[in-house]
Amino acid sequence: MSAKKQINMQELLLSKSKKIVDAAGCEALFLEDVYALKIAKECGCNVYDVYIDALKKGICPYRYFRNRETISIKEQLMLAESRVAVIGAGGLGGQVILLLARTGVGYLTVVDGDIFEETNLNRQALCNKNSLGKSKAKEALASVETVNPGIKVSAYPVKLNPSNASEMLAGSDVIVDALDNVSDRFVLEDACKKLGIPLIHGALAGFEGQVMTIFPDDTGLKNLYGNKKGSENGSRSSEDVLSVPAMTPCLVATLQTMEVLKIILKRGKIFKNAMLYVDLETGQMNEFVFEKHK
């Protein structure tokens, strides 16, 4: 953006923002989307750039008004400047992508080589009668645009493999494992370890699910699946046997998205070298810690 347009943007941001005094008597400036879109058009930039500039000036995009007691404007800027890659845009990924977009993570990379089919309708947030037969990655991009125009999305309608992973994932702050099989998860973990990027693993079967955050030096998936060569043995996997009803990916995706937020915002407790295990049928959520054994 040119210096002239930058000055124009600053003036427009201040003139179009509205001051709101909340119930506690605190004053803050907010920018409604209708003006964010106009400013972006006038300055020849993206809504993403408008949000970033607004947040830097302490002006909160109005869409985040109901975040601000929990996520400060400074933190909203940290999210807007972050890059998260979501690998898989199905049961887990669809929910994660929508949650990240609504929360305001500014840059999303979506990787999925599949297309939506009828049996995805029971659980996959981005799957509907109009998206059947279409690329999951491209539908993710289209959905995010309708949810939050302030998010930049790179959609790759390809299957992740050892040779294409680094090109698509380099530069990410956090990567989300939203895949649906064990062997692909190991391919992703290898790539994350090589790139030095934390990985948020999530998996499920039936009404049960698990979440684990894996930093590059952690043992990671080996704790959950043993050695990769023996992980599937050609037999039917638990998820095939038990199926995947809608509620479980929704909850596991929420927990994964929280791990992303905690890493970016440096808040809370991260499930590192531990498995957060949930059982929706019994209503239990437990942490299990992995210890090193000889």
Binding site: L179, D180, G202, L204, S237, S238, E239, F288, V289
Partner: protein, 79 residues
């Protein structure tokens, strides 16, 4: 010595009438390894990927001493 055994996912089909809320209450006279325990309650050891004793991971050879909660997990990979 009493033990409480909790099974996850596909392991739940092995003990007849398994109740996921209550788990299995089991009592043994002497120390026993996790592997021996699984044989006693007819859970195939090759189906188990993770063993948690009182919330911490242990190998199948881990010796149980009583008054412990044993969680047994197969691999799950769906998404």
């Amino acid at each position: 010595m009493p033990l409480k055994i909790l099974l996850s996912s596909t392991l739940r089909k092995y003990p007849p009438g398994y109740d996921p809320v209550k788990g299995i209450s089991f009592s043994v006279d002497m120390e026993i390894t996790v592997e021996e325990l699984c044989e006693r309650i007819n859970i195939p050891c090759d189906k188990i990927k993770i063993v948690m004793v009182n919330g911490k991971s242990k190998p199948m050879e881990h010796v149980l001493k009583g008054n412990e909660r044993v969680g047994l997990f197969p691999p799950i990979g769906g998404g």
